[in-house]
């Protein structure tokens, strides 16, 4: 008997299980949680944009040249990469609407396509990094360039991991028109990553 602490209320632990959950909102907890997480993520990007604009606009380094002389941004390669990522949002949406209609083949094809497009984007970015001709240690221009694109790249990586899990589950027979929360929430995150890229692209490459 002495091998465990006595509960103060006899019988407190011999319970059958929790009472049925009462939801006080029509929004599902998981979707709400994802939106709040995205709000937090937007603020993290906000911190990176803040340091970008402080370095570029408030500080006005390099005699007003941004990028500094001798630095070139691969605007067109990144534009193609942007198109790749934007089209992956469309395929993600296709996957999402397919499972809502009960079309498993559409779900699987949509997820695999999204996964391939996202991986292509990331691979292109790695190659771009390698051929840029400048590194993190070269001026605050390079710091903020790698900061913003790197932070975004990390998010693409996380998004791809989520998509990979969803793809595995889609091929192993999970998800149905009634139960597709995983796809929906992963999709929300993926769309966020895409929209964020457009902001990053415009700020870092075009402005």
């Amino acid at each position: 008997m002495s091998s465990h602490a006595e509960p103060h209320e006899p019988g407190a632990f011999e319970h059958h299980g929790p009472p049925p959950i009462h939801y006080s909102s029509r929004v599902s907890p998981a979707v709400l949680g994802m939106f709040l997480f995205i709000a937090s993520e937007i603020m993290l990007f906000g911190a990176f944009f803040t340091v970008y604009f402080f370095d570029r606009v408030v500080n006005k380094p390099f005699n007003g040249h941004w990028p500094p002389e001798g630095f070139h941004r691969p605007v067109y390669v990144a534009l193609i990469n942007t198109l790749i990522l934007v089209s992956s949002s469309a395929t993600m949406h296709w996957a999402d609407t397919s499972i809502k209609k009960g079309n498993r083949a559409g779900l699987q094809a949509g997820l695999v396509l999204t996964l391939c497009l996202g991986a292509t984007f990331l691979a292109t970015q790695v190659i771009e990094y390698h051929r840029l001709g400048f590194a993190t240690k070269d001026t605050s221009f390079a710091s903020t360039f790698f900061g913003l694109t790197g932070l975004h790249g990390a998010h693409v990586f996380v998004g791809l991991t989520i998509l990979l899990v969803m793809t595995i589950r889609a091929f192993r027979g999970h998800f149905s028109p009634e139960h597709h929360h995983g796809v929906e929430i992963g999709g929300i995150y993926w769309h966020f990553v895409d929209v964020m890229w457009i902001v990053v692209y415009v700020t870092v490459y075009l402005l």
Binding site: Y23, L36, S40, R172
Partner: protein, 637 residues
């Protein structure tokens, strides 16, 4: 006896399963694997990219500070459910085997019960409170006399920096998270938080973060000594221990964001039928606002710590003026989090005080709606005052006056709360129990801290008092006299609920008076020496401050010793205290309507909320009824 024992360690694991199942044995072999990954990954990348040298200690260490905690979390079982899900196997109906505590061992594993997590949080944070307090006593010993006695200036600064960092990131913020964790689902009439597994994970990040900060102090080469504010570019040129500091803050911040997200979703989606927003206890309101602040603001400190760490490890120029970086950018980003952070460290305390004062005065909270709305006002205004920390930093001159004005305006919603508490007590039947004493101590001390805050908000006084002990006095009147007193009030108030036993009232009162007197003797003279010009964060000082500093040091040891009374009281009462019964305070809120400690799933059935939570002394008033025939849809009240 054996049979019972086996039953309680179920599911029984034997042989190899003891090593592969979640727990400390798995930590022992998984963490070294992740340590290996932390070495291998940077070496591999540097080798592939032809960077020299391939083996670079500072980079490897930085990666280790990510992978080793991950290894620990994998080992202890923080990711087990998600790993199962990711492998594509069918989700299993939860058997609740990770829920609840039958013995003390259950507090040392991943536990999804919000009550267990709440206690895990509170106990962990009190350990770090003691460590942080000991650091303070060490540097007070140094300051007892002018000149260098025990520590060189570098070590002194390490002690000061880590005292602040531990108290802020490992005590005040997570202690509130712990109390909220225990109480919020109970107050809402829910069986648990919305995401119990995330809740467990966010707790286990915390000891990691704390160990990292402590390890930073004893790192070969020297600890972080740039202050808890870690200003750039100083911070990027510190000894190796600084990286521990940067990453420790990241882990604590991640834990904080996850908990806040969980609180928000729980409060929005898990309220009992009839529990409208305007029927929620003020503690829930306070944590709702705080969580919004955390979710919005904490990513900024994550960003700021990334930048200074990259400036060091990757040689970036975010804040290095040599390469076109903007030094003041760090301070703007840091304070854009850290000013809201002072409200993160205070609003949950406001909630605790509202509970305690209403219950102990036996009166409804005065101006309930305004109390909730003033929290929201503080939330909004809190984002518009950050640059008042930078009046002497050389920032844009036009920012000064707007920031001064907003800093003064934020005293208005805070004043509304102070007057509402006073009006709540007015003509009440006040019970001077320990939590109430701490609440009253909080009220008086926080007003002093608030007033010196208004002084400091005005630019000319701030320029005079900046970086002096006047600032130290102000911050301790709001953070110790404010936040820490409310945490003590909360711990005493919910101690009977958490343990089922009553604390020793006489020792509680002794603890209060020792703390209250020791606190004032320690920190009040700092106002004076600050205005006389004694600078903070310096190991040595002018001879004319010698007597008063000796006095402060002696008082601070007394203040430190008062914590022993608290620890003894908690330990003794937890084991031998009088059984408390379900509702020793005769409170109306839901957590007091169940047994102490509450049943494993809080409620046998979800209660039906029918009225306001603070109708003390109102005949026939009811907050909630149990056993209602059928839960009705959410009311429109």
């Amino acid at each position: 006896m054996t049979e019972l024992h086996e039953h309680h360690t179920a599911p029984a694991r034997t042989g190899i399963r003891r090593l592969t199942g979640p727990g400390w044995l798995r930590v022992l072999w998984v963490t070294p694997i992740f340590f290996g990954i932390g070495v291998g990954l940077p070496v591999l990348i540097r080798w592939l990219a032809h960077w020299h040298p391939v083996w670079k200690g500072s980079v490897i260490l930085t990666v280790e500070l990510v992978t080793v905690p991950l290894g620990f979390l994998v080992g202890i079982g923080g990711f087990d459910y998600w790993a199962h899900y990711a492998s594509g196997r069918p989700t299993v109906e939860d058997d609740h085997s990770s829920h609840g505590a039958k013995s003390w061992r259950d507090y040392f594993r991943v536990n999804t019960d919000h009550k267990v997590i709440g206690i895990q949080y509170v106990v962990t944070t009190i350990i770090f409170f003691c460590i942080g307090g000991l650091l303070a006593m060490l540097f007070r010993a140094e300051l007892a006399q002018p000149g260098d006695q025990y520590f060189n200036p570098q070590t002194f600064n390490v002690l000061v920096s880590n005292h602040a960092a531990l108290m802020i990131f490992l005590f005040v913020i997570p202690a509130f998270a712990g109390l909220g964790n225990y109480v919020i689902p109970l107050m809402l009439g829910a069986a648990d938080m919305a995401f119990p597994r995330l809740n467990a994970l966010s707790f286990w990040l915390l000891p990691m973060a704390g160990l990292m900060l402590v390890a930073g102090m004893v790192t070969p080469g020297g600890g972080p000594s740039a202050g808890w504010t870690c200003y750039a570019p100083l911070c990027s040129h510190q000894p190796l221990g600084q990286v521990f500091f940067n990453m420790g803050v990241q882990w604590a911040g991640a834990s904080s964001i996850m908990t806040a997200l969980n609180f928000l979703v729980t409060i929005i989606t898990m309220r009992a039928p009839g529990m409208t927003f305007w029927r929620m206890p003020l503690l829930v309101w306070a944590n709702f606002t705080t969580s919004l602040l955390v979710v919005i603001a904490t990513p900024f400190i994550a960003g700021s710590q990334f930048f200074v760490m990259f400036d060091r490890v990757l040689h970036t120029h975010f804040f290095e003026p040599g390469g076109g970086g903007y030094v003041l950018g760090y301070q703007h980003i840091f304070w854009f989090y850290s000013h809201p952070a002072v409200y993160i460290m205070m609003l949950p305390g406001f909630g605790i005080i509202s509970e305690v004062i209403a219950v102990m005065s036996r009166k409804p909270v005065f101006g309930y709606r305004l109390m909730a709305l003033s929290l929201m006002a503080i939330l909004v205004l809190g984002f518009s005052v950050w640059a008042h920390h930078m009046f002497v930093a050389g920032m844009a001159g036009w920012l000064r006056v707007p920031m001064m004005v907003t800093s003064m305006v934020i005293a208005v919603p805070t004043g509304i709360k102070i007057f509402s508490w006073l009006a709540t007590m007015w003509e009440g039947r006040i019970h001077f129990t320990t939590p109430m004493l701490f609440a009253l101590g909080f009220l008086s001390m926080f007003v002093i801290g608030g007033l010196s805050g208004i002084y400091l908000a005005s630019v000319p006084i701030d320029i005079h008092a900046s970086d002096t002990y006047f600032i130290v006095a102000h911050i301790h009147y709001v953070l110790f006299g404010g936040s820490v007193f409310t945490i003590f009030a909360g711990i005493y108030y919910w101690f009977p609920k958490m343990t089922g036993r009553m604390y020793d009232e006489r020792l509680g009162k002794l603890h209060f008076w020792l703390t209250f007197i020791g606190f004032n003797l320690t920190f009040f003279p700092m106002h004076y020496i600050g205005l006389q010009g004694m600078p903070r964060r310096v190991a040595d000082y002018a001879g004319r401050f010698a007597d008063i500093n000796l006095f402060i040091s002696i008082a601070s040891f007394g203040l430190g010793a008062s914590t022993l009374v608290f620890l003894y009281n908690m330990a003794k009462s937890w084991k031998h205290g009088e059984p408390a019964g379900g509702n020793p305070w005769r409170a109306l809120t839901l957590e007091w309507q169940v047994s102490s400690p509450p049943p494993i799933f809080n409620f046998d059935e979800i209660p039906q909320v029918v009225g306001h939570p603070y109708e003390y002394g109102v005949p026939g008033a009811k907050h909630a009824i149990f056993g209602a025939p059928k839960p009705e849809p959410v009311g429109t009240d």
